[in-house]
Amino acid sequence: MGKEMKHFTLRAMGYASVSAAAFVTALVLSSELFLAASLMSAALFILSLSLYPRRCEVTREMEKDTVFEGEKVRVSLNVSDQRHLGNLEIFDRVSPMLELAEGSNLASLSPGSRGFDYTINASIRGYHRIGPTFLRRWDPLFLWFKEEEIGNPSQLTVFPRISPGRAGELILKDRKYRPGDMRLKRVGLGKEFHSIRDYTTTDPFNTINWKATARTRKLLVNQFEAESVTDVMFILDSRLVSRVGTIRDNPVERCIRFCASLSNELLNRSNRVGLIIYGSSVNVMKPAAGSGAHDQILHMLTNSTPAGQITLGASITYSLPYLPPNSPIFILSALNEDPTIRDAVKQLIGRGHKVTIVSPSGIEFEKGVYDNKVIPKYVLKRIERDNLLLDLRAVGARVIDWDPSKDVIWAMEEVWK
């Protein structure tokens, strides 16, 4: 229960003043009329205060406490004292990172009301706080009120939106063969039998299932399960300078959504995925597989806050021990305000990593702030960015220049190409 604040309103002051002034006038003029007016004002004042609502509890119910970006959550607030005669003004504090989709988180409850509902639109990932509830209790005539903060805040976890990947297999260059590979329940180049299908002219003869062919009198071949062979590392730029544009849509959020979507695809194919996030610090998650890794990645991405100015070079130097040899690496960054990018990518490629850089263009987001006008500084920065991308391609990295007008699915398609 928070600290309680008591206040009179101007209306209350008016009533009191009228009452006092009428009383003084009654004394001066010996007027019963003024005395009656004074007493009536005072009586009204006292009567209204006597019907002041008691302290009450407000409970919050959320439809769900974990959602993905873009989903809606219904929130219900219930008042314990349902027979109150005064007025209740309830404001459920909602994180400024959340949007109200339907209804309002502010309500004035007339006498006898039980509560109200509103719907939140979870537009952006994060651990968002809802509450505590701000309660203002009024007497029936709105003369006097008390304010207090009640109830405990609730947490709404919003994971980054996961876009569906393209059907099929993501062919990664460096497949890692080793004992104990995981079998995938789909067709691939493994050794375990999966199913039988019709022969095609490109099928090798040693895959023909002769028994089935004899039985059915047409050529049939065996299919085998695919096997997981790859560790994939994501390096995510979460510096403050990468959050340009709007809070809702900026390079950091794009990179996070891309990372969530692609890592989901990779984990679904039983690859192992690791994640490095750099900004104010360097957070490393070693490559892991399965749903546990998926949850861990989602939580890391959800908890990420754009801050700090650690460079890519420094974060790679720090996390080199965690990078599996020759593993493919996805660098997700706007590539702005960082002079170490070129050398850091060179270093990774030199160590045998296949580097894919997915780069939402920061200056394009910034141009949006200027209503997409082409300004001189933009041209200069654009030249510098083009030079950098050419340079990175020249050293052997695959660079995807992500225009803000394209969505995450487009970026994933580019990766699949």
Binding site: H7, F8, T9, L10, M13, S17, A20, A21, V24, L27, V28, S30, F91, R93, V94, P96, M97, L98, E99, L100, S104, N105, L106, S123, I124, F134, R136, F145, V241, S242, R243, V244, G245, T246, I247, R248, N250, N336, E337, G362, I363, E366, K367, V369, Y370, I375, P376, K377, Y378, V379, L380, K381, R382, I383, E384, D386, N387, L390, D391, A394
Partner: protein, 408 residues
């Protein structure tokens, strides 16, 4: 600047009003001495209860005013009302004098007896003055302090006995009681008739002991004020001597020929019994509600408090949801225009573009001569900018040329 809360203003206003009330009380209560002397409620030797009782017995409606003569504003029938003020122990306030004058102008009758000078505030408004100093005359009884005076008026013909009387001077009205020609006033209070030569008022002569301001008030139907230079005439211990009682009653009957209401102004005395407590407790309130000055002060304070409250009052804020998702931020395009320092950056960017376009390393590119660079660039305008840092036209034209540049 930090704003003062409305509640603070109210607290201070009420505190000030309370202090004002208390100070008024203290002033009123402490400004009086000689408890109960000449009060109509006092039964002792110095009281005036005998006179009051006699008037009641004669059929007058006798009242006692405990709070303030300002209440005379509310007197509904002043033409049949007499205010008697005997030996006031304090001076009247301006608002009280205003009320008394107003009472008189509405036809009210006033009888004031004083020997201390406290009544001069009222008397001067009728061009009468109480002269300080005891009057001595040849017709005294057993002591020069007790002086007898003959009264020859229509309403009374006889003698009255006064104890250490003062005297009156007047420039308007008519004398009711006068001394003999040998009377003198002891102005310096030494009990000796001296300073005659210096003419300081102690010279023998006729002195006046009672004056009426409007002798023809019955014909005109106007108000009247009678001033008597000795209040002790009405004391319980003196009223029964000589013709004092008859004179006093006759005077009242003369002032109120049709009978009516007689109000003893006991607000100028400290009441001795339980009524005194009531008097003291009510006087501040009565002052606050009847005194013109206090009314102005109280009203002004109330208006000030209301205005302050209205000015300082901040309505309860309407809480609202503040969504920040559309807030924007920039990093590289904080300054949209190219500044002088940006030209060096542009030059480096152009060189980089050329180098990368030709797939050269930094070392190889650095080893190029100016002629070789000119050949690679192809554009004279860009080359001039790279070599000399100069360009024709505006910087926008240069940027367009750089954007359009391609490897030969």
């Amino acid at each position: 600047m930090r704003r003062i809360g409305a509640s603070t203003i109210w607290k201070w206003t009420f505190l000030l009003m309370f202090l004002l009330f208390i100070s008024t009380e203290i002033y009123v209560v402490t400004s009086m001495e000689d408890e109960g002397e000449l009060s109509s409620l006092e039964n002792g030797w110095t009281g005036a209860s005998a006179f009051s009782d006699e008037l009641s017995r004669r059929g007058f409606d006798v009242r006692s005013l405990l709070t303030t003569p300002s209440l005379l504003h509310e007197e509904e029938d002043p033409g049949n009302t007499l205010l008697i003020s005997l030996g006031p122990q304090r001076e009247y306030s301006l608002s009280e004098l205003h009320a008394l004058r107003k009472f008189h102008s509405r036809g009210g009758r006033i009888l004031m007896a004083d020997d201390s000078g406290n009544g001069n505030g009222l008397a001067s408004r009728f061009e009468v003055n109480f002269v300080r100093g005891q009057l001595y005359d040849q017709n005294f009884v057993s002591s020069p302090d007790l002086v007898k005076f003959d009264v020859n008026q229509d309403f009374f013909d006889g003698t009255v006995l006064m104890n250490r009387p003062a005297s009156l001077s007047f420039s308007s009205g008519q004398a009711l009681i006068a001394s003999t020609t040998s009377a003198w006033v002891d102005r310096n209070g030494n009990g000796i008739n001296d300073n005659i030569s210096t003419n300081q008022g102690e010279a023998p002569g006729i002195r006046y002991l009672a004056v009426i301001s409007d002798p023809d008030f019955t014909e005109h139907g106007s108000g009247a004020a009678v001033f008597i230079a000795d209040p002790s005439l009405f004391m319980n211990g003196m009223i029964e001597l000589e013709g004092n009682m008859e004179f006093a009653v006759s005077l009242v009957e003369h002032l109120l020929p049709r009978g009516g209401k007689v109000i003893f102004d006991d607000s100028v005395h400290r009441s001795p019994d339980a009524s005194g407590i009531v008097q003291r407790s009510l006087r501040g309130l009565a002052f606050a509600t009847t005194d013109v000055n206090l009314k102005i002060v109280s009203g002004a304070m109330a208006v000030l408090a209301l205005l302050s409250a209205a000015y300082l009052y901040e309505p309860p804020g309407k809480p609202g949801h503040d969504c920040i998702l559309n807030r924007t931020g920039v990093a590289e395009l904080v300054e949209p225009e190219l500044l002088e320092g940006d030209l060096a950056e542009l030059r480096k960017a152009v060189l980089d573009r050329i180098r990368v376009s030709y797939g050269m390393s930094v070392d190889d590119f650095s080893a190029l001569s100016w002629n070789e660079l000119e050949e690679l660039v192809g554009s004279p305008g860009i080359y001039r900018f790279l070599r000399k840092g100069k360009y024709r036209g505006g910087v926008e034209e240069l940027l367009l040329e750089v954007m359009a540049w391609e490897r030969k």
